[in-house]
């Protein structure tokens, strides 16, 4: 569905999505990096159904993921970086006791 503009074919970085290293262009957001694969960012706390990024501009909150250990992060608002750990968020964010 998406095609990159030719002038942005840029140097890749390696991010770790759900434990698997993936090479992606350096100028993607974490949500865009996930969309290269299965596109699933989280499962909902209410029904448990899978969700994908939707608005890609920070308003719908369907892209919540755990990024570098921080849960409930809007993946569409975070540019990728070398070594970034991007994990699917399952259910509600737990707090640490």
């Amino acid at each position: 569905m998406f095609r990159r503009l030719p002038e942005t074919a840029a140097q890749p970085v390696t991010v770790v999505i759900d434990g698997r290293p993936v090479r992606v262009p350096f100028d993607l957001t974490a949500a865009a990096a996930v969309l290269i694969g299965d596109g699933i960012t989280r499962t909902t706390p209410v029904s448990g159904s899978p969700r994908a990024p939707y608005c890609m501009m920070g308003v719908c909150f369907d892209c919540l993921m755990e990024i570098d250990g921080v849960p409930n992060t809007q993946a569409c608002m975070v540019p990728v970086a070398e070594g970034m750990r991007i994990n699917r968020q399952v259910g509600a964010r737990k707090v640490r006791s």
Partner: protein, 363 residues
């Protein structure tokens, strides 16, 4: 009725459900409206030391809240997420805890026939019931009567309910003139004149200016409160007075008491003090992200008690105002609205008439 905030909407709902013909005049979206910015507690445990009438009125409302929530859900389909599982007031110093103990003991003794039970918990006892408290917490008081709702759903439910019962709601209808005669009121709003044999003034801070026009007295002032809201997290804490978790998972951290006139903007120093106390209370909050903050203006009388009265000069005009409009919503929807429908306020409410403010100041 003038004012569609929490007090006006609750009384309006209560009148409409009895079959009265109600028109509710309200301002627009930009109004000062505590109903849109409050913390949503149905809070009993600190209400009325030294004033048994207030303690009883609050308790009555909290006892009738489950019925109101169910009725609103049935009539409107809106669930205002009412819960009543008791509440903790968490103390960070021995002094705070001792003051609470003394206040609750006063309340227990003056409760009379209404039983009033409370517990004072030390750190260990509290930690068994609220495991996530921090090491600095000294203890807490607890009563089983406290509860909470989602305040925005409450406002929505009351408005849906009064429409459902045939009331008319006029938004963007700021009242600027009231012409009063006994049992005959003419009210002008947005260029339209409304006439009614009965008038309920429940315009929050706006009642101050309007009251004298109907022979009522509402010496109210704004007291600012600021609140922080976090991202949504899995269920973590039970109800406490200053920090609560909403049904959707967000935590609210409240709420300041500030004399700031009609300024309803937020102030970073106040918010950071709230956050600091919250983190001392629940250290896990250090890692939870804040997503919003806001301020709203409480509707405060000189002694902090509600003002309820019928005009002596212009019978048929009623005033209702309080600073705990969520807590008292059931008292307003049922006994208060029933009294207005009958045409006389009951003796139990005589304590709340504005004549208590007429005492000349001692030198």
């Amino acid at each position: 009725m003038i004012g569609g905030g929490l007090v006006g909407a609750a009384i309006g709902y209560g009148l409409a459900r009895q079959g009265l013909k109600v028109t509710l005049l309200d301002e627009g979206d930009v109004a000062l409206r505590a109903a849109r910015g409050n913390f949503g507690l149905v809070w009993v445990q600190s209400k009325g030391p030294g004033v048994p009438e207030y303690q009883h009125w609050t308790r009555l409302s909290s006892d009738r809240w489950p019925g109101l929530a169910a009725e609103l859900r049935e009539t409107t389909g809106v669930d205002c997420a009412h819960e009543r599982r008791g509440g903790f007031a968490i103390c960070l110093t021995e002094d705070e805890l001792e003051q609470r103990r003394q206040m609750l003991e006063v309340l227990r003794r003056q409760a009379g026939a209404v039983e009033f039970e409370y517990e004072i918990l030390d750190h260990g006892a509290l930690a068994r019931r609220v495991p996530l408290i921090g090491p600095e917490v000294v203890g807490a008081s607890y009563t089983p009567y406290d509860g909470a709702v989602h305040p925005l759903y409450l406002l929505r439910a009351l408005h849906a309910g009064l429409l459902r019962h045939g009331a008319r709601y006029e938004p963007n209808a700021r009242v600027n003139a009231v012409h009063a005669a006994p049992h005959d009121f003419r009210i002008e709003a947005r260029g339209t004149a409304h006439a009614a044999p009965r008038l309920v003034l429940a315009a929050g801070l706006g009642s101050r200016e309007l009251a004298p026009l109907a022979g009522l007295h509402a010496p109210l002032r704004p007291v600012r409160g600021q609140i922080l809201a976090t991202e949504r997290v899995a269920p973590a804490i039970p109800l406490t007075q200053k920090i609560r978790q909403m049904s959707e998972g967000a935590l609210l951290i409240g709420d300041s008491f500030e004399e700031a006139g009609y300024d309803d903007s937020t102030a970073p120093q106040v918010l950071s003090a709230l956050a600091a106390r919250a983190v001392r209370t629940f250290p896990f909050l250090r890692e939870v992200q804040l997503v919003r903050s806001w301020a709203a203006l409480r509707v405060m009388s000189p002694d902090g008690l509600p003002i309820y009265e019928q005009s002596a000069r212009f019978p048929g005009a009623f005033l209702a105002s309080c600073h705990s409009g969520v807590t008292l919503a059931a008292a307003h929807a049922y006994p208060y609205a029933e009294a207005v429908a009958r045409g006389a306020l009951p003796d139990e409410l005589a304590r709340f008439a504005s004549r208590r403010f007429d005492v000349p100041k001692a030198a």
